[in-house]
């Protein structure tokens, strides 16, 4: 019945058309315009007939030591943040899924998910206060416990860690939720069989549970990579790229360049970041999908 299939597809495309149009208009069009600006001279970037400079902006940013350091820092932070978030979320989800936690399950679920729905700016402002060197609760608690103070956001050596903890607080709940959904559909018979066969707890987790969590790991990994490669709000609210560039990630550096009218270089940085995000996310997806097959 090819006629029916064509009609059915036609109806599908008719319904999809408005959303496709909106995606192209508000999603793809700005990206394409931004890429176009990256090939123009900043001073003429917003003029009707900009001066085209080819790859000059890309050459300039790759020759800029601040950008090089920023790119390396972004990649390092992404690796650390993705690893920390997924490890924490997996451990937390396993805890929630186990019989150990008992009646407190709802409280713990709420505790980890509430930060996800908290407005990010408000959350990061509170974290900034927690880390404050003169009145912050973090150092007050450390002092009470007789421990040395934490440099928090004021020290280049600790700012990235402080940011990572605050971001983990904000995002981990989402990853926990994905893991929990996957844990709910695990094949318990396999776990029980391995238990009967004498597998240890660690062996059961490694050889039985973890392979079944591959779909959740794939989704979380791709999402987290995109999330942390683009880290921006936490930086704007808490450190503004400082201290001494310790948290100056590519997205924030591009914003700074844009703010100082370096439109060509700013959009070149954004394009590089976009390409990296796309490449890394696709690679991660391919790797996890291949493992599944």
């Amino acid at each position: 019945m090819p006629g029916l299939a064509i009609r059915r597809e036609g109806v599908f495309y008719l319904f999809a058309l408005p959303f496709a149009a909106l995606t192209i208009l508000f999603g793809l069009w700005p990206i394409l315009l931004s890429i176009q600006v990256s090939f123009t001279a900043s001073a003429t970037a917003l003029q009707p007939h900009p001066q085209w400079v080819g790859l000059a902006n890309y050459a300039a940013i790759f020759a800029d030591p601040v950008f090089q350091a920023s790119l390396a820092r972004t990649l390092l932070y992404t690796v650390l943040a993705v690893a920390a978030n997924l490890a924490f979320a997996l451990a937390y989800a396993l805890l929630l899924d186990s019989a150990l936690i008992g009646w407190g399950r709802t409280v713990f679920k709420l505790a980890v998910f509430l930060p996800v729905v908290t407005p990010d700016v408000a959350g990061y402002v509170v974290w900034r206060w927690l880390y404050d060197q003169s009145f912050g609760a973090v150092n007050a608690a450390l002092k009470l416990a007789g421990l040395p103070g934490f440099g928090g956001l004021a020290s280049p050596g600790t700012a990235m860690l402080a940011l990572l903890v605050a971001e983990l607080w904000h995002h981990a709940g989402f990853y926990v939720l994905i893991f929990l959904a996957n844990l709910a559909i695990l094949d318990r018979a396999q776990t029980e069989a391995s238990h009967i066969d004498g597998a240890t707890t660690l062996q059961r987790f490694w050889y039985v549970t973890l392979p079944q969590l591959r779909p959740a790991i794939a989704v979380n990994l791709v999402y987290a990579l995109i999330q942390f490669l683009k880290t921006f709000t936490a930086v704007v609210v808490m450190t503004k790229g400082g201290p001494a560039d310790a948290t100056n990630f590519v997205s924030f550096y591009a914003y700074q360049q844009f703010d100082s009218a370096q439109y060509g270089q700013a959009t070149a940085m954004a394009t590089v970041l976009f390409a990296i995000v796309l490449l890394v996310a696709l690679s991660a997806y391919r790797v996890t999908e291949r493992g599944r097959a």
Binding site: L46, Y131, S134, A154, K240, P243, S260
Partner: protein, 426 residues
């Protein structure tokens, strides 16, 4: 009969109509106060220009840039723009379509109240890109009750200021415990933040340049400049007279520290006074010139720029827009500006309704010294300033053991970079 009646009605309507109404649009970034002031000035302007109305639209500064540049470049420009000089520079360089206001100024009979400095910070690329309407003054403020508690007068010299800051920090003037209040409120996060602070201390001490002179020569290792730079850096490091998190502070955080009662000495802009008289600090502050660093140099209050009106060359009602721009320098508009925004440029205004502190700014008796705005003449300056800021932030994060050596090395580095930038950008 019917046709006659219709003809009479049409004739009556035509006769009764006041002519085609004209609306001037002005885009500014002064917020609600700016809108209120411009609306009042527009209503006054309409008294002599029947049928003309003014539509002030306020944008947050970052949006103001994009919208203004986009509108001018796409032929949908507003009639007038109102903002700070350095912001209009960016619009002028991105569009090349900001009109020269020199002829408008020449057409104003009484513009003698504008000084040479005022006019210098209105020009860019050989054109007068704004008509200066509001002088931006920034003075040094100290909490009055704190001074009383530690038994000190308003600090006159930098040594006084350091001593008073130390007493504030040790004396617990708010009763919140030592270690909770600090000597100074500064900001450092963004390039303009830290350099702005350095500007205030440098110009306030009577020097005329912060990083480069008008020829583009780096000046930071000249003895007087080096001293101010070292002292400002030491305020963060060796002296520990600011909150430790200041390295991440921008304007918002600095204001929170000031208004939250966590600091004793701070910048007071003319636009802050009306608010701080009523709320926040609630009038508990005295203002004066910035601390004196050198016995043979006059310290001063700093003119941190000029806010003014610009007219795009492709403004829909350019002639009328020029007339309104000139009107903003007249006494009624200036009086309203002083009352609502807190600053003006005329000196013959009625100040009887102002608070004592507002009067200090309205009829300044203190020495005034203006920023040099190197970006007005050196296209590459913002990039040099950003690099300078990075060096200074590093010195704040990890204070150098040998400050003079750091200043000298930084100066050499800036010289090399300035040469490269000048060769690249001209």
């Amino acid at each position: 009969m019917f046709i006659r009646l219709i003809t009479a009605l049409v004739a009556a309507m035509l006769l009764a109509s006041p002519g085609r109404a004209q609306q001037l649009s002005i885009w500014h970034d002064l917020g609600d106060n700016g809108t209120k002031w411009l609306a009042e000035a527009g209503a006054e302007f309409a008294k002599t220009h029947p049928g003309v109305s003014l539509r002030p639209i306020s944008y947050p500064t970052d949006q103001w840039f994009g919208r203004t540049i986009g509108a001018i470049n796409t032929g949908t420009a507003p009639d007038l723009l109102f903002s700070n000089y350095e912001r209009v520079i960016r619009v002028a360089s991105q569009t090349g379509k900001i009109g020269d206001m020199r002829a408008v100024l020449d057409g104003i009979a009484d513009h003698g109240f504008l000084s040479g400095d005022d006019l210098r910070v209105a020009s860019f690329g050989g054109r007068m890109i704004i008509l200066p309407v509001q002088r931006v003054q920034m003075a040094f403020g100290v909490r009055k009750s704190w001074l009383d508690k530690v038994g000190e007068p308003f600090p006159q010299t930098w040594e006084d200021a350091k001593r008073v800051a130390g007493k504030f920090q040790a004396g617990d003037p708010e009763g919140t415990g030592t270690g909770t209040v600090f000597g100074f409120a500064l900001e450092a996060a963004k390039p303009r933040d830290l350099i702005h602070m350095l500007d205030l201390f440098t110009f306030g001490a009577g020097l005329r340049h912060t990083l480069v002179d008008p020829e583009g020569n780096v000046v930071i290792d000249e003895p007087e400049h080096a001293r101010v730079l070292a002292e400002v850096l030491n305020t963060f490091g060796a002296y520990k007279l600011v909150p430790p998190d200041t390295i991440n502070y921008s304007f918002n955080e600095m204001y929170q520290v000031i208004e939250g009662g966590r600091t004793g000495m701070f910048r007071v802009g003319d636009w802050n006074v009306a608010k701080w008289d009523a709320q926040g600090i609630k009038g508990d502050f005295v203002v004066g010139a910035w601390p004196r660093f050198f016995a043979d140099r006059q310290n001063a209050v700093v003119i941190g720029g000029m806010r003014g009106v610009a007219v795009p060359e492709n403004a829909p009602n350019k002639k009328l827009a020029d007339e309104f721009a000139a009107f903003l320098l007249g006494k009624p508009a200036q009086q309203a500006s002083l009352r609502i925004v807190g600053s003006a440029v005329r000196r013959d205004l009625d100040v009887s309704g102002l608070s004592e502190r507002q009067r200090l700014f309205a009829q300044p008796q203190w020495p005034l010294i203006a920023y040099d705005f190197p970006e007005g003449g050196l296209a590459w300056y913002p990039e040099l300033e950003a690099a300078f800021h990075r060096k200074l932030l590093t010195a704040i994060a990890v204070p150098p053991q040998d400050m003079p050596a750091f200043v000298k090395a930084t100066a050499e580095e800036m010289r090399t970079l300035a040469k490269q930038l000048a060769a690249r950008k001209g």
